[in-house]
Amino acid sequence: MAGSQPPAQTGAQTGPQTGAVPRPALINDARVRAIVYQALTLAVVVWLGAEIWTNAVSNLERANIASGFGFLDTTAGFGIVQTLVPYTEESTYAQAFLVGLLNTLLVAVVGIVLATVLGFLVGIGSLSRNWLIRQICIVYVETMRNIPLLLHIFFWYFAVLRSVPGPRDSLEFLGSIFVNNRGVYFPRPVAEEGFGLVVMAVAVGIAISVGLARWAKQRRERTGQPFPVACASFGLCVGVPLVLFASIGQPLTFDYPVLQGFNFRGGLVMIPEFLSLLLALSIYSAAFIAENVRSGILAVNKGQTEAAYALGLQPGQTMRLVIIPQALRVIIPPLTSQYLNLTKNSSLAVAIAYPDLVSVFAGTVLNQTGQAVEILFLTMAVYLTLSLLTSLVMNWYNKKFALAER
């Protein structure tokens, strides 16, 4: 199409007064070409889709594999080591799906919390004025993020947690936490009668604190008077419930794990698969989060700090009121994508058989039913939904907190 410029130029402006200009050939008309290109692309995509569909249908028929989502109501017939909702071998595949999904969410949420805490500590540490701390943080980030996540997981699972002693010689912490190769056992808190009151007190405390914070903010904007919101909220949310808890006779007992035969009974157990996946995910993602935090803080202009000092703010206030709010604007978008990565990376659980969505559903259920298309579709749809939801929230956040440019 090298020689097509002159007609294409005139094609767009078919003349108001120059009736003599000939209509360009159809092939050079930009609008016609756009429509043809799009129609062709669409035709290829539709043809490809149809081809895949017919092949899949005939292949499935030949292999005698049922199709459709009817299999979800059949009995699963396999056990799962960690279930957050009631589940037995008689449960259906749909329930197995739910168990897997909840396990994925559990490890993702706990991992996100741990990774954020560690990542912020390391990220701030790598900007510390203390040379030693700075070097430690830099070495941590460089090492951890250059080693594949799967290797982290294998290391914790096969090399560390497999080498702790068996249940009989468990490592003991504080007399009630036991670590052995079957997992980590904690005492489980059991709520007794009256504990609901304490929970209610906490809820009421939180509600009052929110109102208090709003009132304090309005008053500060009106009069400039600060109000110690943090202390007051702490007292309302923690102090009052604690006093209540003590005064009605401590309605909370603990179910301690005890060694019976070859294993522990009772208590809360954290299976080694969960623990190693959690450690690997948090340690690996923390390195990336630390980098985001570091670059976010560095992105705040030095003049901001100087201006804050010139106004007489203390270093702590400068950090809290000037630097962090501006740094967060830079940090939060990449931070969310790290959270999303962590959630997606939790699918590596399948390598050590932690019963997450991929391992339970795209692993065991797929092997039992052979319905690859439906199962992978559902699994991918879950992750896709999570990521679309996150990006919706992200877009909303970006609009809300974007710098108002003039």
């Binding site: 199409m1 090298a2 097509s4 410029q5 130029q9 756009a34 290109y37 799009q38 692309t41 669409l42 995509v45 895949i52 092949n55 899949a56 005939s58 292949n59 499935l60 030949r62 510390s128 004025r129 203390n130 040379w131 030693l132 701390i133 430690i136 460089e142 090492t143 250059n146 080693i147 594949p148 996540l149 799967l150 290797l151 294998f154 290391f155 096969f158 090399a159 080498s163 997606k344 990376n345 699918s347 590596l348 399948v350 390598a351 991929v358 795209a362 797929l366 690859a372 298309v373 992978l376 699994t379 991918m380 992750y383 896709l384 999570l386 990521s387 679309l388």
Partner: protein, 379 residues
């Protein structure tokens, strides 16, 4: 205007006593005081840091160096009481870690593929050397063909080597390099499509990119290993490694597209308008004006993508291919070398290999970023 001395007025009659000289800021002592003990908080942090180093470094060093076994021909050497790393295991299995089960007599083919690749790549990476264009063309067009012929064989009298025999570093590099080389043109096309004015093409590209970016790689690999065969007509099958390569290439193309899009967005509008004013067509504008500038900006992003992809190649072991990590793990089951330290030694070795490669690439990308920075960015 009162001129008399008010009781509040104070006039100093004596000079201020001389302040002591400031603490030295130079020299070892000054540096230590400035950087480690400048305040109480800082001192606490230093003590904490020293404690951290004291609990981590000596045991690791002891395990990896002082108590480690350095020579031996079997597990007996590593079974001592209190033995550390079992390095002879790595030494004995090195061939497998590099070539997998590639036939011994044919391993020279892997070596040659590697050397030709390195010989073509190194001049490309050193900025001062000429003929970059031809070099790149060689790497992108004839080299993959040469590599394919050398590695799989079956022609020119080379015996055929099935891909099920490939393993170790060979598979890791094949997956990573194919992934990145195939994903670059695909990613550029997708990025252009995403910014296209044609709604159908734009929607298709957005859909493609977001779907692949929204799902974990492991589900994509599962899809390649169990679902792709279903999509093909009866009788058409292709190799597991190839299916995995297709999946990795499509997956990383979606990420590449986003990187390239970032570069495209950074090109000022004037560049497009200037090209239009010169009468260039869309593809001419893109090829000669926009992409050369955009790709230059995103080189660090492309390298980061490559590092991520290189680390992600470990996932192929989940669908039963033996990459470096897979083959190391496979060798733990060898009774000849079964010792309590074998697994840890293998993992640490793998970690070191990945660390050296990934860290080297990121250092290089930082160097290129500084070098290519033409000062046009306004930050």
């Amino acid at each position: 205007m009162p001129t008399h001395a008010s009781p509040l007025t104070f006039v100093r009659t004596q000079t201020v006593p001389v302040s002591p000289p400031p603490r030295p800021r130079r020299g070892v002592v000054g540096w230590v005081r400035e950087n480690l003990f400048s305040s109480i908080g800082n001192t606490v942090l230093t003590v904490f840091g020293v404690y951290l180093i004291a609990v981590t470094v000596p045991p690791v060093l002891d395990w990896a160096v002082f108590s480690a076994t350095w020579s031996g021909t079997g597990r007996e050497a590593c079974l001592r009481e209190g033995a550390g790393a079992c390095w002879p295991f790595i030494d004995a299995k090195m061939g497998q870690f590099i070539y997998g089960r590639y036939p011994l007599d044919e391993r020279w083919r892997v070596d040659w593929t590697f050397f030709i690749g390195v010989a073509a790549l190194v001049p490309l990476l050193i900025p001062s050397l000429p003929y970059k264009g031809w070099n790149a063309v060689f790497l992108l067009v004839p080299y993959p063909i040469i590599a394919f012929i050398l590695l799989t064989g079956g022609v020119f009298g080379l015996p055929e080597v099935e891909t099920s025999l490939w393993g170790g570093m060979l598979v890791t590099l094949v997956v990573a390099i194919t992934g990145i080389v195939a994903s670059l043109p695909l990613g550029v096309l997708l990025a252009l499509g995403r910014r296209s004015h044609l709604p159908v093409i734009r929607m298709l590209c957005i859909g493609f990119i977001e779907i692949w970016r929204g799902v974990p790689l492991i589900t994509v690999l599962f899809m390649a290993s169990v679902m792709l065969p279903l999509f093909l007509p009866e009788g058409v099958t292709f190799d597991k490694l190839l299916r995995c390569l297709v999946a990795v290439a499509l997956f990383s193309a979606a990420y590449m597209a986003e990187v390239v899009r970032g570069g495209l967005q950074a090109i000022p509008r004037g560049q497009y308008e200037g090209a239009q004013a010169l009468g260039l067509t869309y593809w001419q504008t893109m090829l000669f004006i926009i992409l050369p500038q955009a790709l230059k900006i995103v080189i660090p992003g492309i390298v980061n993508n490559f590092i991520a992809l290189f680390k992600d190649t470990t996932l192929v072991l989940i669908i039963g291919l033996f990459d470096l990590l897979g083959i190391i793990q496979l060798n733990f089951t060898d009774a000849e070398w079964s010792t309590p330290q074998t697994a840890v030694t293998g993992y640490v070795f793998a970690a070191m290999v990945y660390f050296v490669i990934c860290s080297g690439m990121s250092q290089y990308s930082r160097y290129m970023e500084r070098r290519l920075d033409t000062g046009h960015r306004n930050d």
